[in-house]
Structure formats: structure tokens, C-alpha cells
Amino acid sequence: MQQIFSKPKSMKKDFRYTFCPGCDHGIAIRLIGEVIDELGVREEIISSTSVGCSVFLYDFLDIDAVEAPHGRALASATGVKRARPDKVVFTYSGDGDFASIGLAESMHTALRGENITAFCINNTTYGMTGGQLGPTTLMGQKTTTSPTGRNKDYYGYPIKIAEHIALCDGTAFSARVSLDTVANINKAKQAIKKAFQVQLEGKGFGFVEILSSCPTNWHMTPEEAHERVRNEMMPVFPLGVFKEI
């Protein structure tokens, strides 16, 4: 009998996702696992992840990993890469982790052009703590800390992460992808692969911002949540490659 489907080898054999139903973290982590398999780098990888729902990456990928405090994944990864330049190093963060508490670390890692790959899940909210306003929360979006919706006078504006990272001279690749359709998932995988490849080629910082749904905190069904990604997020956070060298 021919086997036509299996879990990526770089993922733990017995894992079951503990994410909320409909959450896109599972898809993103699986794509990273597939790319690690395809590049054949599982035994060379050291990852660093900080705090948020992204922290559960440890539970699903069967790779060496070190934790970092909230926001410090990119600093930790810089330490790993400088200590072991021969290893493949990546980080996996949420938008709050990467672009709010960790913005300085993230941006300076890109500016230094560290040969590191970084992924940022953008779901416009702090998921793990129950849906508060974060750095990517859309204008008008209601969260538990913006009960009447985000307005500029009270909360300021959301950050366009991939565009900012693309502005850094040390960035070799910066893209924004989405996981709302099969076609977009395939494109996301290509971007994830590219972000690893620029590291392997020593070109500099590789970055992918991944638009993701958070049905639980958005109070939506998974389908409605993907509709929101398309209809509300993409106009503000357009998909595409913002830098590639």
C-alpha cells in the first residue's frame, strides 16, 4: 500500500495540537516542519521562542529549542547564531511578542543582518491572555481592552510589520502571507522556505509575517474568522514580498 500522507519527520510522532479549534498556529507550525524536512536541516536546527501561544512550538516540533523571556526571542537567537554560526536558527513569535514588547530586539536583529529566520503570527490580538489590544489590532476592532473599538485618539495605529522589517538594510527577505485558503497556504510555505534559504546562503535576515485567525478571541467560527482575514486584515496588511535579495 502506498503511503500518500504523513506528518513531517521533524514533528513529534505522538503530538496532538492543543490550540483552539480553527486556530492557524497548527498550520503554520506544520508548514515550518515540512520545510525543515525538505531542506534536510532538522539536525542542524536550534530554535528560540518566547512567550504567547507561540511558546507551544516546543511541544510539537522535535528540534533543539531554548526559551526566551517575552519579546526576547530574537536576542536569544542572535546569541545562539553568534555562538554557533554553523547552525540553522529560527524564531517563532506572535505579533505582541515580535512587534510590541520585542520590537527593539526584532528590528535590531534585522538591522544587524543576522543570519536568522523569524516568523511572526499576526492575529491582531493577544491570544493567550484572552484577546487584548495588541500592536496589530485593526482600527475599530473591539478587544477586551478596547471595548468600544480601536480609535486613533485612544490607542494609536497598528504596525505593518513586514514593511518595517523590509526597510532594514540587513533584511534579505521579508514577506507577508496568509493561511486562509489552500492557495495561500501553498504560497506561505514557499515564503517560509525562502526565509530559511536566505539564512542558509548567508544573505541575512529572513522574515515572514503570517496572517492568522484567532476564532476564539474574535468570537467567530473558523470560517468566519478566515473571512475576516480576507476582508478586514488583508486591506490593511496586504500580502506580498516586500524585500528579496
Binding site: R42, E43, E44, I45, I46, S48, V55, Y58, L61, D62, I63, D64, A65, V66, E67, A68, P69, G71, R72, A75, S76, A77, T78, G79, V80, K81, R82, A83, R84, K87, V88, A104, E105, H108, R112
Partner: protein, 360 residues
């Protein structure tokens, strides 16, 4: 390497000792009075093909150290007081993750920004920590430039031997002064890190270094284990110096570069017929409680001399536990208490006077 003496600043001595100890990576952010450490290493590390990063902040620097040491290499950062405050979160993580982080704190004046003149106000910050949870750091306090070398060596060794963060607690006076010192060879064996270091999961199970523990029982056990480890550290590594202790009626007690001044004050007091001795913890954590306790039981009084409002004083009092008298001779920061001031302070407390704090 040579045993020849060179006239060298404390900061440069620490930096060169780190190089000799095999420190592969330095991550730092400038702050007076320790900036020379980073300046010295920026050139040296590049010359040796080792890593040096001008970090974006102290938060970045200490977390880079955590990442680097997780792969089994020796790495360090250095900073001062108000900026070491920024690193406390990471130290809590590093202690829980059992990462051999080496941090040098060349103390300046606080609280807040304070100023660049020397002080010893970070005793509590180093020994008790500003991070969350139950954790302990090994703290070494050099008293001379030679000890800046020797204790930097020891910091790297102990960090890896026990997989525990180590703070080298120096001060601005020691960092900025020059004194003859010799480097010799790094005197400790290399510690085998192959059992835990992250190198990529080649031919073995993947390793995770993290402190997140949703399982309550495991977390409880983890904290017990960390504290058991520190009991072993206390048993094996507690070090102190004492002078003229046997017949001493009053024991002048200080840490770091104040040690020099209490030794001189002891000599002056002895010449006046006062039986003074000196006690100086080399390890502030683990603290030599047992020895102080023994001396107190023999009826020896203590005069703690420090450049803060009585931080080590509390530990000495705790160790003495009411068995003898403990007084404080102090100034919060700035110009080190002179030998004359210490002598006057000791005479005053021996006559039953109140604790001596200059300008109070």
C-alpha cells in the same frame, strides 16, 4: 600567557581574564563605569575570531548571552547597576533554565539613574535578585584588581560546573583603578557540556531548555531541585577571608574593594590596643553564614563596613542571630569610607555609640 605583573585597570583585567577563560561571545551595551570592558573586548574578540555584539539594550545583551550559553559556549555580558536592573528578568529565566550566564556588574550609585561614582548598593540586587520566583545566583565580589582576574576565571568555571548564573559584583572604584596583576593560565578544567547543550538534534533526542511548566508537580520538584543544587554549591564553594580573627573582640566585615580599607583600619585599631579582626566574604551568595555564626558564638562583635545603607549588614545580623553585637559603619555612595572614618566608627560603636553613618 605570562605570570608577569602588569599595571592594569580592573575593567580591562576582567575583560582580558574573560578572554583567557575562553569566553567565546560578549554582548553588551555601554554604561559608565564599566564601558572599558566592552571597548576592550570589541577589538579583542574580532582579532580572535570570536563573537561581539553591540546589543540594542541590556535586555538584548543578557538574552543574547542566554542564547549563546545554551549552545554550550562560554559567554558574558557586563553592565552597571541601573542597567543590571534591566537584566533581572533574564537572570530569573537563566536560573530556572540552568544556563551558565556570566554577568559582570561594576556598581555605580543608585537608586534610579543615580550617578557614576562608585557604591555598593547592588548587594541586595545581586544576592537576592530582582527577578521573579525562587532562584539563586552565585555572586563573587573581588576586592583587588588581581581578584578581578581570579574571580572572573572562577565565575566562568562555576557557571558551567553548576549550570547556574554567576554575577561578578565589582564596583566603580575597582573598575577604574589600576593595580599590578598577573593573569597566568585559566586555572580550571573545561566542564563537559555535551549532556545538555543545544547543538541540533543530530543522532539524539531533541533537547528543550525552558521554564514553562504547566504541570504543577514538576514545577514544585524543579524548584526543590534548584535549591538542592544551591545547597551543594554552598557546601562546596562558600569562600571567605579572615585576618587576626582568633583573638579579635570586634570583627570588621566588608565585601569587595572596601576590604582593603578595613584591613588598614584593623591595623590602626590594633596599634591602639583594640583587638580588631577582619572578615570578608568572597562569595556573597552563597554567604558564609556558618562561619559568622561560629564567630558570634565565640562572643565576637561585628562592625559591618559598606557603601550602602546596610545591605550585607542584614545578612551578618541574620547569621549572628542575636549571639553578639552587630553594628553598621556606612555611607550610601561616593568617596569610600576612609581608614580614619572606619577607625572612628569602630571606636564609637565599641563605646556603645549608635551606628555610624557619615553625614547623618
Amino acid at each position: 600567557m605570562t605570570t608577569e605583573k602588569v599595571l592594569i585597570k580592573g575593567n580591562y583585567a576582567i575583560a582580558q581574564a574573560a578572554v583567557n577563560a575562553g569566553c567565546q561571545c560578549y554582548f553588551g551595551y555601554p554604561i559608565t563605569p564599566q564601558t572599558e570592558i566592552g571597548e576592550y573586548l570589541s577589538g579583542k574578540m574580532q582579532e580572535l575570531g570570536r563573537a561581539y555584539v553591540c546589543a540594542e539594550s541590556e535586555l538584548g545583551a543578557i538574552n543574547m548571552v542566554m542564547g549563546a550559553v545554551s549552545t554550550g559556549v562560554k559567554a558574558m555580558t557586563s553592565s552597571s547597576s541601573c542597567a543590571v536592573a534591566l537584566m533581572q528578568e533574564a537572570l530569573s529565566y537563566a536560573a530556572s533554565d540552568e544556563l551558565p550566564v556570566v554577568l559582570v556588574n561594576v556598581m555605580r550609585t543608585g537608586p534610579g539613574l543615580g550617578y557614576i561614582y562608585p557604591a555598593q548598593g547592588d548587594y541586595n540586587q545581586a544576592v537576592y535578585g530582582g527577578g521573579n520566583g525562587d532562584y539563586k545566583i552565585i555572586v563573587l565580589a573581588p576586592s583587588t584588581v588581581q581578584e578581578c582576574v581570579d574571580l572572573t576565571y572562577r565565575a566562568f568555571y562555576l557557571a558551567q560546573k553548576y549550570r547556574n548564573p554567576v554575577i561578578l559584583l565589582a564596583d566603580g572604584l575597582l573598575g577604574q583603578m589600576m593595580e599590578p596583576a598577573s593573569f597566568g593560565e585559566y586555572p580550571y578544567p573545561e566542564v563537559d557540556v555535551s549532556g545538555w547543550a543545544l547543538t541540533g538534534a543530530k543522532g539524539r533526542e531533541a533537547r528543550k531548555i525552558y521554564s514553562v511548566a504547566p504541570d504543577e508537580k514538576k514545577q514544585i520538584q524543579h524548584i526543590y531541585d534548584l535549591h538542592k543544587k544551591f545547597e551543594v554549591i554552598a557546601e562546596n564553594e562558600t569562600t571567605y577571608e579572615e585576618f587576626n580573627i582568633d583573638d579579635a573582640e570586634i570583627v570588621l566585615t566588608a565585601f569587595g574593594s572596601m576590604t582593603r580599607n578595613i584591613k588598614a583600619a584593623m591595623n590602626v585599631l590594633r596599634s591602639k590596643g583594640i583587638k580588631a579582626g577582619c572578615f570578608r566574604p568572597v562569595t556573597l551568595s552563597p554567604f558564609p553564614h556558618n562561619r559568622i555564626s561560629e564567630l558570634a558564638l565565640k562572643g565576637k562583635d561585628f562592625a559591618v563596613v559598606e557603601m550602602n545603607m546596610g545591605q550585607m549588614f542584614k545578612d551578618v545580623k541574620y547569621a549572628v542571630d542575636g549571639k553578639s553585637k552587630v553594628d553598621l559603619i556606612n555611607r550610601p555612595c561616593g568617596e569610600w569610607l576612609s581608614v580614619e572614618e572606619i577607625v572612628a566608627g569602630v571606636e564609637r560603636v565599641m563605646q556603645g555609640g549608635k551606628a555610624y553613618a557619615a553625614n547623618i
